[in-house]
């Protein structure tokens, strides 16, 4: 059974709308949708830019497990250990050097507005600094 999901292209600021066509839990193609900015058109990236979701192992591998560097090597750990490690370290650094010794970034790519909202809230409310920025490359 094919299912069509209306979404927005993740590549550039034009914000073209497209349908991801999904079969058996895999994206099989993209179709242009009638968005405000694209009116039924897409470029190459819109048409073919979804394939990384299938993790074809071309350039880099998907990150699938939390990793912590132990004795110089990145090792797989549980989420619980990873979250505990990060929280502990950040608390320690904040105590030792103050909140302004910590810098965070937002993401201008796939994460979305909600994730960026939560990130800046985390830096401001939890860490206690306005050290939050993103790569505002045009």
């Amino acid at each position: 059974m094919e299912k069509k999901v209306l979404t927005v292209c993740p590549y550039c600021g034009t914000g073209c709308k497209l349908y991801l066509v999904v079969e058996d839990g895999q994206v099989i193609r993209a179709e242009a949708a009638d968005g405000r900015t694209n009116e039924g058109n897409l470029c190459l990236k819109g048409y073919y830019g979804w394939d990384f979701l299938n993790d074809p192992q071309i350039l880099t591998a998907r990150l699938k497990k939390p990793l912590i560097r132990k004795n110089g090597k990145l090792e797989e750990v549980s989420w619980q250990e990873a979250i505990g490690f990060v929280a502990g370290k950040l608390t320690e650094i904040k105590k030792k050097y103050g909140p302004d010794a910590i810098m965070g970034t937002g993401s201008a790519r796939g994460a979305g507005n909600e994730a960026n909202y939560v990130m800046q809230k985390f830096m401001r409310a939890v860490i206690g600094t306005n050290n939050i920025d993103h790569c505002a490359r045009v």
Partner: protein
């Protein structure tokens, strides 16, 4: 953008400044072509023969790094030929006298000597621009990669104010943003000086509002900019931990060697991303996030349009949405953060940001796209800003701005005689971990990437098209394939920044402009050399590529 993407095709004149729509935003480029078909005049300012240049009525081929001199000369012509809109300026704009003084010396002839653009072409461009009923300016990377970027943008905005091309449809000025959600990250306050909705952290009233909502005391001190980090870490030893969400500074930022040094000196580097990348190689901890397609939310398009994106498939690994990971860390640090879904986050945000308040998920579904400001749920959004020509300055008037041109910080010399600028390529996108992992796109072009150079320089250096060559700057050296093209002027070279072997950011400089503190994004002096042993070089590229992919965890 002050106006909307669809309005581009209804303008009577487009002034395209350092923006190559065909490569960076093909669907915007279509609108430019449509405008032309509908009779619009097209004026393009660009050192390269881009696709826009091919359809241009007038091309101003300026030398790289001379934008400000040209913009000032444009203002000079508008003033001296009395082409500016006196009534509009009188009513809505201030600073005219200072502006006149600042641009006085930038006669077209004076600018010609700096920019290489013919004085009469500058005059003609401004006569056309001022004479058009509805004129729009589009600018892009070509403006923003130089240290004077902020000045140039304000200078361009002054041309818009002088001609009264604001506050209605089919006019205005637009930076056409690169990455899909740069607009959104700004909207959401991932900036050191503003909360979500562009509310200043230095404004005590705004701070009180957020303090009340979040239940904690907040800092009113403006935070660090990303571009300050290398200096703050290496020279001042002030920043100790770096939480990097969905970015790859080793690949995307200038002077990659220094970025690596920064990461290695930090006590804690947290990388939260979807793919292994060059930055993650330096991480102390890696948190795997779900990707576009595996989670939902809202993006902001370049023209301020909020649009929902949806989940299509289940995540392939043990990944979590970015916001959920952050909430878990916050909670583990003793600040409980919990949301049922992205809608709950969005609603909290809307409650704190008056200009986004009306863009609920429900309304977004009904309307498809809502351009902010959208203050209430009855409001349908704002296609163009500054209706009634009211500006966000204290007295509501538009501010004219000009300042002196300053030459690029790094100049070509005998040892490094060519200039290098970094540009975008149509098939791939920024750091390429997404597009590079798409089979159809990967076939378009692959490692080590290309360096574009002029026919004249190639002849002089005995370099043939498609040969591997070596490019070096004061900071490093990489190998790439030569793309010899008539579109590039002698003395200039161009690279795209997504390649791993031909990584141009091993070469670029992060020199900071002494006045604005903006780094010289991606412009530097280089030398290009021929490689005699081509077979050996090809083998080297294959070996390096295999090594990198292995490092990135790919099954080779």
């Amino acid at each position: 953008m002050s106006n909307s993407i669809p309005e581009i095709e209804n303008a009577d004149l487009l002034l395209i400044f350092g923006y190559n729509g065909a490569d960076s935003h093909p669907i915007v480029a279509r609108r430019i072509i449509k405008a032309k078909e509908k009779g619009a005049k097209i004026i393009v300012v660009d050192p390269r023969i881009t696709e826009s240049v091919r359809i241009a009525d007038l091309w101003l081929p300026l030398k790289g790094g001379t934008n400000m001199a040209l913009v000032n000369a444009c203002g000079n012509v508008l003033i001296n030929e009395a082409l500016y809109h006196k009534e509009y300026v009188g009513k809505y704009v201030e600073g005219l006298e200072d502006y006149k003084t600042a641009v006085a010396k930038y006669t077209p002839e004076y600018a010609e000597a700096i920019t290489g653009v013919k004085a009469d072409d500058i005059r003609k461009a401004m006569r056309d621009y001022a004479g058009a009923k509805n004129a729009m300016i589009l600018y892009g990377m070509g403006v923003c990669q130089f240290s004077q970027a902020v000045d140039v943008v304000r200078g361009l905005a002054s041309l818009v104010l002088l001609t009264g091309n604001l506050g209605r449809a089919n006019v205005g000025i637009g930076p056409v943003r690169g990455q899909n959600n740069v607009q959104g990250t700004c909207d959401m306050g991932t900036l050191p000086d503003v909360f979500p909705g562009y509310q200043a952290v230095t404004d005590a009233k705004a701070r009180r509002k957020f303090e009340k909502a979040w239940g904690v005391k907040l800092s009113g001190r403006i935070g660090y900019k990303l571009t300050e980090i290398p200096h703050l870490v290496l020279q001042e030893d002030k920043v100790k931990a770096y939480y990097i969400m969905g970015e790859d500074p080793v690949q995307s930022d200038p002077n990659a060697g220094e970025v690596r040094e920064v990461l290695d000196k930090m006590e804690l580097v947290i990388v939260q991303d979807i793919f292994m990348n060059k930055t993650a190689l330096h991480a102390d901890v890696i948190l795997p996030a779900t990707s576009w397609g595996e989670h939902e939310g809202v993006y902001s398009s370049a023209d301020r349009g909020f649009q929902r994106f949806k989940k299509a498939v289940e995540p392939k690994g043990d990944c979590k949405p970015d916001w959920q990971i952050i909430c878990e860390i916050a909670t583990a640090m003793g600040y409980e953060m919990k949301y049922e879904d992205t809608e709950e986050i969005w609603d909290e945000m809307r409650g704190l940001c008056p200009s986004f308040a009306g863009a609920s998920y429900k309304r977004l579904d009904e309307l498809g796209s809502i351009q902010w400001p959208c203050p209430t749920e009855e409001h349908t959004g704002t296609p163009y800003l500054y209706e009634g020509n009211k500006f966000s300055t204290p007295n509501g008037k538009g501010q004219l701005f000009a300042c002196d041109w300053r030459p690029p910080l790094e100049r070509v010399d005998e040892e490094f005689p060519l200039s290098l600028s970094t540009v975008r390529e149509v098939g791939h996108y920024s750091v390429r971990t997404m597009t590079g992992n798409c089979r159809a796109l990967q076939q378009l072009a692959d490692e080590p990437g290309y360096v574009q150079l002029s026919v004249e320089d190639a002849e002089e250096l005995h370099i043939r098209d498609q040969e591997l060559i070596s490019i070096s700057s004061r900071r490093g050296s990489v190998m790439a394939r030569a793309l010899v093209t008539e579109r590039v002027k002698k003395g200039a070279t161009y690279m795209t920044y997504q390649w791993w072997i031909g990584a141009c950011n091993e070469l670029t400089s992060d020199h900071v402009d002494p006045i604005t503190k903006t780094p010289e994004f991606k412009y530097c002096a280089v030398k290009v050399e021929r490689i005699k042993d081509q077979a050996g070089a090809e083998q080297h590229v294959r070996d390096e590529y295999a090594k990198l992919r292995k490092q990135m965890g790919v099954n080779v």
